[in-house]
């Protein structure tokens, strides 16, 4: 007895030790009720105490317990015969088998069918079939690369040009009719001029394109004369030459096979400044340019030998588009008509890459070189190339920027922008050329912007006049958006300016201008900012 009591006390202490605290009272109550339900099922009867408890706990705050009591009461009332199945004896731990066929529903289904219900008909398409069909109809990943765009005929005709060392000209493989005219174009010496051209070759010319280096005997006689050519010559020859820079006698010179495809950035810029410069557009504009160039060249040719005084009048021809990047080949024939026979022996070619005075007077963008005092005077190496200068025919002729370009009247020289002692000169170009050059990150790498409040200009025309008076070339003024673009060059530094006028509110405040400009030299940015601020502010 003592041992049994000790054992019981030990068990009690052990239970207390292992279970030192009470767990959830709710859980314990649920266990108790679960036991009551099972015992009722085992006994087969529900004593009054149990019924009272169930009725009582149907209103319990414990929702779980409340639900169980309600369910069990319903089971007692409506399905007493199911108690043995719901609460089987010694079967609580049995695993429920998976009756996939749902055979226990057969009786129920048959009963419903007998009552007139429609039998179940499975769907026609199985889900697996649907998945299979979808996978079959799903387009596969296309690994085939896209075909390269075909080269248009226009570009193909201008693709190849072969330099004939015997004739000293360049003949186009596309059957260009004016082979002799091309002769004047390529009839240029090279010597040191190629090396001198290099630093600014990408500014004006197409990348990788420059003049032919070879020359015939006649050109050899003038090679030394052109030896001291300035970089401005490159600006004139590149758009027309297109031959790769070769120093020495390279017999065959092949131009680029096709025009360089515009990059996305260039296309966007071209679209911004007047439309995308597609080859079609370029081709359509070539004819007009060709006629203009022909006319201009002939005019120049006529006036050059007669008197140097007539040169400025020729220079006032702004329609010559010498910077057409897309008309390398097409513009050549037009120039040749004027230069092959009528030119002097020293081959002063208005479209040549050499620093002849005629070119500098006909093209405004060459003027910055001549604008410098040392370039204007005879002792400068460049004038030695000039037969007029050599003959002393220039006299007191001074080369200065032509402020009348751009359709706006002449401006006082005091407003012209100066940099390193040299005045800004207009740089003639079209809007697509401006856009292409603007987008070209390699040429104009330095971007600046300045916002000038309280400007004097009240309209876009006033602003553009101010820019022209500063020495810029008016490329285009867009009245609809009060935007204008202009270009200039000073000391071999190209400047592109984009300005936008924002009108003041109701006349209470003055207009202000947002200027963005790109230059090929980073040192000129601050100077330009100061100049714009001073010249445009009230």
């Amino acid at each position: 007895m003592f041992a049994a009591s000790f054992k019981y006390q030990l068990n009690d202490q052990a239970l207390t030790y292992f279970c030192p605290f009470s767990l959830s009272s709710k859980t314990t109550t649920r266990y108790l009720f679960n036991a009551v339900f099972k015992l009722i099922a085992q006994a087969g009867t529900c004593p009054p105490k149990a019924s009272k408890l169930i009725e009582q706990f149907k209103l319990s705050h414990d929702v779980e317990l409340q639900q169980r009591c309600i369910e069990f009461e319903a089971l007692l009332v409506d399905g007493g015969h199911l108690l043995g199945d719901v609460l089987p004896i010694d079967a609580s731990c049995e695993d429920l088998g998976d009756d996939v066929e749902l055979g226990f529903l057969d009786d129920f289904v048959q009963e419903k069918i007998n009552l007139g219900a429609a039998p179940y008909s499975p769907p026609d398409e199985d889900e697996d079939d649907l998945i299979t069909d979808y996978s079959q109809t799903k387009p596969s990943f296309n690994m085939t690369p896209y075909a390269k765009p075909t080269v248009s005929n226009t570009s193909a005709t201008t693709a190849s040009r072969v330099y004939n060392p015997e004739l000293g000209n360049a003949s186009s493989t596309s059957g260009e009719p004016n082979g002799s005219q091309q002769n004047t174009q390529f009839n240029k010496p090279s010597g040191t001029q190629n090396s001198l051209r290099k630093p600014v070759a990408n500014v004006w010319g197409k990348p990788g394109a420059s003049t032919s280096a070879n020359s015939n005997g006649n050109m050899n006689s003038t090679a030394n004369t052109f030896g001291n050519s300035t970089t401005s010559n490159n600006r004139t020859i590149n758009p027309y030459g297109g031959a790769p820079p070769t120093v020495g006698g390279v017999g065959i010179v092949v131009e680029e096979e096709k025009p360089r495809e515009l990059t996305e950035r260039e296309k966007m810029a071209s679209a911004l400044f007047g439309g995308v410069g597609t080859s079609t557009a370029a081709t359509s504009s070539r004819a007009s340019r060709r006629s203009k160039i022909s006319g201009a060249a002939s005019t120049t040719q006529k006036k050059l030998p007669s008197s140097p005084q007539s040169a400025p009048a020729v220079a006032a021809e702004p329609a010559i588009d010498l910077l057409d990047m897309t008309s390398f080949g097409d513009s050549l024939p037009a120039t040749a008509a004027t230069s092959d026979n009528n030119m002097p022996n020293n081959d002063i070619d208005i479209f040549a890459s050499q620093p002849d005075i005629s070119v500098s007077q006909t093209a405004d963008f060459v003027s910055p070189v001549q604008a410098a005092p040392e370039d204007v005077t005879a002792p400068v190496p460049a004038p030695s190339l000039d037969p007029f200068a050599a003959e002393g025919l220039l006299g007191g002729l001074e080369d200065k920027p032509l402020p009348s370009l751009g359709g706006i009247g002449s401006q006082p020289s005091s407003q012209i922008f100066n940099f390193n002692g040299k005045e800004l000169s207009p740089l003639s170009m079209s809007t697509p050329e401006f856009g292409q050059l603007w987008a070209s990150a390699s040429d104009l790498r330095f971007s600046n912007s300045v916002s000038i409040p309280n400007v004097k200009a009240t309209t876009l025309d006033d602003f553009m006049k101010s820019m022209v008076s500063a020495g810029f070339h008016l490329v285009e003024a867009i009245q609809a958006t009060d935007e204008g673009i202009c270009s200039g060059i000073v000391d071999d530094v190209t400047i592109l300016v984009h300005g936008k006028i924002t009108k003041g509110s109701g006349g209470m405040t003055a207009n202000h201008i947002d200027l963005a400009f790109k230059t090929s030299d980073g040192n000129i940015g601050s100077t330009l900012k100061t100049f714009f601020t001073k010249s445009l502010s009230i």
Partner: protein, 105 residues
């Protein structure tokens, strides 16, 4: 600690209800084990030395499950008797819970 108790509770219930594979018990031994367990819990339930509510809840839970599952194996008491005592236990526990003794824990 609570998780440990629950784990022991689960192990104990498993040992009682399921076949002791490791012990290689046959059906008779298993039935004897269950019957012994039921009789022990019935004796505790009927004991007057210590009220059942003084035992821990985990003990009451185990006892409830054993008696509910294998109450018919009891030798000293009928199923109806166990059911009646269980109902009394629920009533006492409910009253004590209302009094706050258990709910306060």
């Amino acid at each position: 600690m609570r998780n440990l108790v629950r784990r022991h509770n689960h192990i104990l219930l498993s040992c009682i209800s399921q076949r002791f594979v490791t012990l290689r018990l046959d059906d008779s031994a298993e039935l004897s084990l269950r019957r012994s367990t039921v009789n022990t819990y019935v004796s505790i339930l009927l004991s007057s030395n210590k009220p059942i509510l003084q035992y821990p809840d985990i003990f009451i839970q185990i006892m409830s499950w054993i008696l509910g599952e294998y109450g018919y194996l009891a030798d000293t008491m009928t199923v109806e008797g166990i059911l009646e005592r269980m109902c009394e236990l629920v009533s006492k526990k409910n009253s004590s819970a209302i009094g706050g003794s258990h709910e306060a824990k």
